[in-house]
């Protein structure tokens, strides 16, 4: 997030798109409800489903899946047409405005309405609302990024924020809500194929020299490595022979999971660190038992870039160990220098992270109580950064990048007439490895329920609770139907919490060429009623 959870209460308006905030980031959802109910902030919600936030929305734009760019360009069109832009911000802090404007002019509301299914009046009203209530905060999540145009979707949001000068101010900004508890941190410390810790590019010679000095080894070639989906395919092709997985469950979490299973089966040597024998661990050659987060000291970085300290509360069961210890022992056995892999406590690892990544430069364990620090935190006396881009963008001037509509990779057709979108529920987490082992949560939601609109259900003779088969070009899933008007007509919704009825059997692994994100949020399926329950 460019901004902080706390400053959201200052927003006069929200544009929330591709984020089911009250279920996926419930405490941020609570803030938004409070801002709307108590402070009278306006809420523009753009989502193909009537999610809980729709009850709080001033306007709900229920656009068709995969049409975010035309919708956002359409909002920009109206703002420019009615002269509601922030001219001073555009003049002093941005560039390429005129070129971008020419592209936006191709998206008048009546055209946009045809592509997105949103009434013209709503597009106009939403644009006015966003531009005239300042500060206005944009919030988004995977509903924006998990498309083949995910990168451009984000660009379109940044353009809107710059157009209205909603950057670098409390209550404004462009705020991605990061999913996992430490997805932000895993990126920050370099678990990405293109960057070293602190987002330092692997292709940059200066950066390589720095790391070569720091660690006594040759650096890998200045070439970006493989992303998850690319790794999977490389295993099938025999180019990647071994895989080491720490605490992830790609057998269920990755798109087109039948294909992913074939890839994992093709892997010659698979090692998994885990707390449970997950579906992926079941396929491994070696499984190493890990400590859960409450069984070790460590830091986690939340969606507002706040690095927070977690304390060990319990001993791990049996012989299980914290991952950092497992990794140290393995590295030494593989021949790594003893002195570069000996840490007596995670705080020493953090000292090393601080030494190699400038944005974490001032992070020390003793500074993290009671409330943590928000990066960039350059030095031991630096107080952290609650809001990014104040007065200046990282690159200097903000660049208006023109973006065009591009239809989703796979759209409904005669054979597969429905659009499937996937997501998660409040009560469960990702592949269910943890939450399905919690009695209370399992009691609340024990099985997959496919959301389908009553209009569609009636045509297919499906009643609430009926068993149905959902199939795509990649596989089929049997589950029960939940008939209610949350998805828009033509759309069905599934999760990936339940191994026995897994949405990801159906999803499309087509990738955004830039961000390499798979298009989970749109694929084509058909829906059939089953006459009898499955065996």
């Amino acid at each position: 997030m460019t901004n902080s959870i706390g400053d959201m209460l200052q927003a006069r308006a929200f544009l929330i798109i591709g984020s089911n905030t009250t279920e996926q980031h419930p405490i941020i959802g609570l803030q938004i409800k409070r801002a709307v109910r108590r402070n009278g902030a306006k809420l523009i919600l753009a989502d193909p489903r009537k999610i809980e936030l729709a009850q709080f929305a001033t306007i709900h734009l229920q656009h068709e899946g995969g049409t975010d760019i035309p919708l956002l360009n359409g909002l920009a069109y109206v703002i420019l047409d009615e002269n509601l832009q922030d001219d001073e911000f555009i003049a002093t802090r941005t560039e390429n405005f005129e070129a971008w404007r020419k592209v936006v002019e191709q998206y008048p509301p009546d055209e946009v309405s045809k592509i997105t299914g949103v009434p013209v009046d709503d597009i106009v009203a939403a644009a006015r609302m966003y531009a005239t209530n300042k500060p206005a905060a944009i919030l988004y999540a995977m509903g924006i990024t998990q498309h083949i145009v995910g990168h451009y979707n984000v660009t379109a949001l940044a353009n809107l924020a710059m157009l209205t000068g909603n950057v670098g101010v409390p209550g404004g900004g462009v705020n991605p809500l990061r999913g996992q508890n430490n997805v932000q941190g895993a990126c920050d410390v370099g678990c990405l194929p293109n960057v070293y810790p602190g987002y330092q590019k692997v292709t940059d010679e200066e950066v390589r020299a720095k790391f070569a000095n720091f660690h006594s080894n040759e650096q890998p070639p200045a070439k970006v490595g493989l992303t998850v989906i690319e790794m999977m395919n490389a295993m099938l092709e025999g180019k990647v022979r071994a895989m080491y997985i720490m605490g992830e469950n790609p057998a269920l979490s990755d798109p087109d999971s039948n294909h992913v299973r074939r890839c994992l089966e093709a892997c010659e040597f698979l090692v998994v660190n885990e707390i449970f024998l997950s579906e992926t661990a079941q396929m491994a050659d070696v499984v190493l038992p890990a400590a859960a987060s409450v069984e070790k000291d460590g830091t986690y970085t939340n969606t507002e870039r706040r690095i927070q300290l977690a304390h060990k509360a319990l001993d791990p069961p049996g012989q299980a160990k914290p991952d950092w210890q497992i990794l140290c022992e393995l590295a030494k056995r593989m021949g790594a220098p003893e002195d570069e892999w000996s840490y007596s406590h995670p705080s020493e690892i953090m000292e090393e992270i601080a030494a190699v990544s400038p944005i974490y430069g001032g992070i020390r364990y003793e500074r993290l109580e009671p409330v943590g620090l928000q990066w960039p935190c350059w030095a031991p006396e630096h107080g952290g950064t609650p809001i990014l881009h104040v007065g200046r963008f990282t690159r200097g001037l903000g660049y208006f990048t023109p973006v065009h509509h591009q239809p989703a990779d796979e759209l409904p057709d005669d054979e597969y007439p429905f659009m499937l979108t996937t997501g998660r529920l409040l009560q469960h987490w990702h592949t269910g490895t943890m939450t399905r082992r919690v009695g209370g949560l399992d009691y609340l939601v024990p099985e997959e329920l496919v959301e389908i609109n009553p209009i569609d259900a009636e045509k297919l003779g499906i009643e609430d609770g009926d068993w149905i088969r959902v199939s795509s070009r990649r596989g089929e899933v049997v589950a029960r139907a939940h008939v209610f008007d949350r998805p828009r007509p033509g759309l069905v919704f599934m999760t990936f919490h339940f191994a026995e009825a897994l949405g990801n059997v159906l999803t499309n692994a087509a990738l955004d060429p830039i961000a390499k994100i798979p298009e989970y949020k749109v694929c084509a399926v058909k829906v059939e009623k089953l006459d009898s329950p499955p065996e």
Binding site: A186, F211, H215, G225, V240, A292, T301, K312, A320
Partner: protein, 137 residues
């Protein structure tokens, strides 16, 4: 009134909000979860997962020993044997097919320190940039 022996503060293991948890522990079991009202992230609020969702750590399915596949089945092994095997096989595959024939998936559920060492293992010890995690999934 529930009784507890001690309280320990930690961070919720679920979503990216990063709520602070105050675990109440009795006889080495988590018996109650609360949070502090003055914390800027969640101001004492927790959702159903943070407040009631930690029971999995006590689940009997937890892995307690290393496992090695023998004749198609995963069987318990010692740490020494398991780590020895992993080191030997990874080194052998690296020697035969080069560092890029190995790929590593790190975890958005693990700590910064765990993740840092995972990429250090990839880049320093194995010599590949084939490291990723589920940021996109």
């Amino acid at each position: 009134m529930l009784h507890y022996d001690r309280q320990v503060t930690t961070i919720c293991p679920y979503c990216g909000v990063g709520c602070n948890l105050n675990l109440h522990i009795k006889d080495d079991r988590i018996v109650r979860v609360t949070s502090f009202y003055d914390h800027p992230v969640n101001r004492g609020n927790l959702c159903v997962k943070g407040r009631f969702g930690l029971e999995y750590v006590h689940h009997p399915d937890r892995l307690t020993t290393p496992l090695i596949r023998r004749n198609g089945r995963l069987e318990p092994a010692s740490w020494d044997e398991a780590l020895g095997l992993v080191a030997e096989r990874l080194n052998a595959i690296k020697a035969e097919s080069g560092p890029d024939s190995i790929a590593l998936l790190s975890s958005a559920k693990c700590s910064n320190e765990d993740n840092y060492l995972m990429q250090k293992l990839a880049r320093q010890v194995i010599g590949t940039h084939n490291i990723d995690h589920c940021a996109r999934l």
